[in-house]
């Protein structure tokens, strides 16, 4: 009986959708905290799309995941010593990026070595995060939000901070984009042509750390993948033109974020759930459609053979 009551009362505090889309959007935008959430969401989704596209191309999703996880001890540690969690997020993500990037990998392209280092960093980060939460004593308020994200209470100052960091990261990416593409696809030839392949690799990991720290402020550190990986992976099933593919990644990321924010506003459930669900649904639909499409095209060939 009490259970039913509590659900009912939670429901009454929740804004109710009128199912008139325009009206619902207008209502959500009436609150400054929601406007800030839409702004922050857009900034984060654009940056995540730009960096995530290269991450998917470079097969560095494991590194991206680790750099996001590192935000958890970063933020918890910052709160523990009494400074803003944001500083902790960025500091830890950058340091972890340098660790993963600077550990020398012997032989060939060294993917396996990178994975080993990355995995170790990830395990250590999670353990440190738990240690910091324990040291803080009892319940670290917002630990849940750290892990799974929250869009409530984003201030205008935070939006500006997110914007400045995103602009700086995007500017750096614009400068290195072409050699980075070269080094990602064809490292041997790029090196012979004087492209600093290793420097770019380390630089990109730092950018990835910055992006992960930005995104995790909205999605939480555990769900960064939703914005970093899935839009890029989805876009790459649709087009092989690099510029178009990047633009599509950004478009998918922003759309998924805004739709999730709107749905989360009218529901009692966490935003991270909607973000991951919508992003993954877009991915599944794209891959499924592509597969059907290519099967159709292949069918006559196999009949002829």
């Amino acid at each position: 009986m009490t259970h039913v009551m509590s659900v009912a009362s939670a429901g009454s505090l929740q804004p109710q959708p009128s199912w008139n889309l325009l009206e619902d959007v207008r209502q959500a935008f009436m609150y400054p905290f929601m406007v800030n959430a839409f702004r922050a969401g857009a900034i984060v989704a654009v940056l995540a799309g730009l960096i995530g596209w290269f991450m998917v191309l470079r097969r560095q999703t494991f590194a991206g995941h680790t750099l996001a996880i590192v935000g958890y001890p970063g933020a918890a540690g910052a709160v523990l010593v009494g400074i803003s969690a944001t500083y902790g997020l960025f500091a830890f993500a950058s340091i972890a990026a340098l660790v993963i990037g600077l550990v020398p990998n012997t032989g060939g392209r060294g993917y396996s070595e990178e994975s080993a280092v990355t995995g170790t960093v990830q395990a250590f980060a999670l353990a440190c995060g738990f240690l910091f939460v324990t040291l803080y004593g009892g319940f670290l308020s917002g630990a849940n939000a750290l892990l799974f994200g929250s869009f409530l209470g984003i201030t205008s100052d935070q939006v500006i901070a997110l914007l400045l960091v995103a602009l700086a990261a995007a500017a750096v990416l614009a400068v290195i984009a072409r050699p980075l593409l070269f080094a990602s696809i064809d490292p041997d030839v790029a090196r012979a042509r004087g492209v600093p392949v290793r420097g770019l690799s380390i630089g990109f990991l730092v950018l990835l750390g910055v992006a992960a720290a930005e995104v995790s402020q909205i999605t939480g550190t555990l769900l960064v993948f939703a914005l970093l990986v899935v839009p890029a992976a989805t876009a790459q099933t649709w087009t092989t033109r690099p510029v178009l593919s990047v633009l599509l990644t950004v478009l998918i990321g922003v759309s998924v974020t805004w739709i999730s924010l709107l749905v989360a506003y009218y529901s009692p459930y966490p935003i991270g759930f909607f973000l991951t669900t919508f992003a993954f649904a877009a991915y599944l639909i794209s891959v499924g459609w592509r597969r059907l499409h290519t099967e159709e095209r292949r069918a006559p060939l196999s009949v002829r053979a």
Binding site: L57, P179, F182, D186, V189, A192, R193, G194, T239, T240
Partner: protein, 278 residues
Amino acid sequence: MDSPDDTVIELHDAAVRLGDRTLWSGVDVDVRSGEFVAVLGPNGVGKSTLVKVILGLLPLSAGSIRVLGGAPGSMNQQIGYLPQRRSFDPQLRIRGTDVVRLGLDGDRWGIPLPGGRRVSPRARAAATRVEEVIDLVDAAAYAGRPVGRLSGGEQQRLLIAQALASEPRLLLLDEPLDSLDLPNQSAVAALIARICEREGVTVLMVAHDVNPILSYLDRVVYIASGGAAVGTPAQVITGPTLTRLYDNPIEVLTTSDGRLVVVGQPEAPAHHADRHAP
């Protein structure tokens, strides 16, 4: 032909060490402009290492080298390089055209503006050049497809186009025929010879099997454990020369269709240094 300006690659008494092992030493090579030269020798003898030395990626332990009149590595903008067999990840969602384009300006910082082809003559020239080299290697039919989905021969043609995109004076090809089927081997060999002749590009090609390119070659560099020999194929690929290089009795047989068969060739110690260079 004898003027020093005509020399594209010049190695004098050169030696290379990897770790504490001397791969080769006492190598003298002069490659002149417009020549098609093959680097031959058993596995693990350091053929790919020679290419990396020419690119300035590895230092010589003794002797001297000049490439296009400068120190190795200083003229790499004028060298087209095709490393040993790479195949692209089948999942790689990038067009063949984009891979070729990287050979033209992939080392430049900044990004080209979208739609620049309409306003910038330079962007137009770049797009034209990419089309040109793709036509040159007969890859126009599939250059727009995702590169990971193409066959080995198609990928190899696009990679040759990539190496040619920046109009290099020297082309360094590391086993470009490796892992291609026989029809593709002779087609790609003929393509390389045509490029060498028509575009006036000097070609240095590492090869495991000399036969697909034998009829096109000007000279060969044969490296074996006992040193190196340089000359025309008829001078170098002979019983006495190879016997001296391998320090083992070697016979070279000629088949009725002109192919060469080397008999008695011992396998080099299985270091495979050319495949897994540090």
